[in-house]
Symmetry: C2
DNA sequence: CGAACTGTTGAGAGGCTTCAAGCCTAGTGG
DNA sequence: CCACTAGGCTTGAAGCCTCTCAACAGTTCG
């Protein structure tokens, strides 16, 4: 699970906007109390229903955050990549975790204990303010997604998800999405059956909107996808 | 739009958990800078895309908070009633409003200017902490709803919505829900067509789960609804 | 009292899901 | 390094849930 001491670059939190306004002393304390580790693909960082002891800063890799619904079907809520924080929601509202976090690309995470979080909230209003902004943004995204999923067809949602992936993840020089998701994972983002994703991806390819090479997807026609997504 | 000076009872904010830990001076400032008004059913308090000057505390009545999706179809995100606050999300993240708020039962709202909000965040960490907890709870609810709407059938979702209404709103002595929603509004909560809601409500009635009297709904069989909702 | 909105019911179409069967790939162990 | 196996991927067929359209009844409010 925990594998080895990470690269020194990957333990540096000074790049996080959230910590920008910390005093030197607060930063020192943060660095003293954090603990960073590398995690291999497939590792579950925390599980739905568990009690959390702190939140995590992602300094490398990608995680999927999902809820388990009917019949164990996963609903992917979001991905977390470098620069983002996870597990803070349940921590702040003092609830059990309502999602599971699983590594989908080898990752480095820094654990920040609850006590440290409280200390920062109590001592630095800039920190609380940044935190509020982060949660509020995420809440807007969630609300947007509710509207989409409630009103759009599966076809529209899939097109939208592809555009979302393009905006949020790296592409190689040929504009090929570097993130590697199974068809099932795509289905669990869109909220549909795996077979539907497969059929629709084929149609998108036939329509020259995308190109497929195994799990790698190349976006050929952004405008066309926008139109398909009804944005 | 703004009708008259509200009852004195309805301008009292001391009952709000959010303000529990304010100092006497902060409370004085809050009371000085707030402005309370009554609003009639149908009034739009703020509209999607508008810039907000503050947030509102609901001291009476009920509002629906909704987004406008495809073809102007409303997606109801939540209701706000006495003791709840609205419009704080866009304010905190410094974005334009992403929802519209409309009064569905005559309401009294107290407007708190952005400056006051900032003042409280900067001076009282208890306030920020409470605020963080409120947003985080709402985010969990949104995530739960995403999973529901993505994985459950319309029938299951409608049963769930009825239970949610029962938990959150008053009933009279005969266990009749006092909140009055149109079929269309129910549909806009569930994310379905009005006709589907009508048909399903009829089925629920036939199954002795509920009783209907115009817009008033009486919950007869909570267990049965739970089962129907697949909870 | 009429207009405009809300509620109801029916019929038909179609988008998605489910089940089933076979192919392919990716990762493992010999 | 290669064979093997498990899981991922693909395609087809059948059927159902839900939406849309349409017509009409009922209600509310100016």
């Amino acid at each position: 699970m925990i594998n080895k001491r990470p690269n020194e670059d990957d333990t540096d939190l000074s790049g996080f906007l959230l910590f920008k306004k910390l005093t030197e002393e607060e930063m020192k304390r943060l660095n003293f109390e954090k603990s960073c580790s590398t995690f291999k693909k497939g590792t579950v960082i925390y599980r739905e229903g568990s009690r959390l002891t702190g939140f995590f800063c992602v300094t490398r890799g990608i995680l999927k955050i999902y809820k388990t619904g009917i019949d164990g079907k996963e609903q992917i809520i979001k991905f977390a990549k470098k620069g983002e924080i996870i597990a803070y929601r349940s921590l702040l509202s003092q609830e059990l975790a309502c999602t599971t976090a699983k590594v989908i690309e080898d990752a480095v995470l820094c654990h920040i204990p609850y006590q440290t979080l409280l200390y920062l909230i109590q001592n630095n209003w800039h920190f609380s303010h940044h935190m509020l902004q982060i949660v509020c943004r995420e809440l807007r995204e969630a609300n947007d997604y509710i509207t989409d999923i409630a009103q759009k067809s599966v076809r529209e949602r899939l097109a939208e998800v592809l555009l979302l992936l393009r905006d949020n993840f790296d592409t190689d020089r040929q504009d090929m999405l570097q993130i590697s998701l199974t068809r099932e994972e795509l289905a669990n983002m869109v909220g549909t059956a795996t077979e539907s994703v497969i059929r629709l991806l084929s149609e998108f390819r036939a329509d020259q909107l995308i190109e497929l090479q195994g799990r790698k997807i190349k976006i050929l026609n952004v405008q066309g996808l926008r139109k398909t997504a009804n944005i």
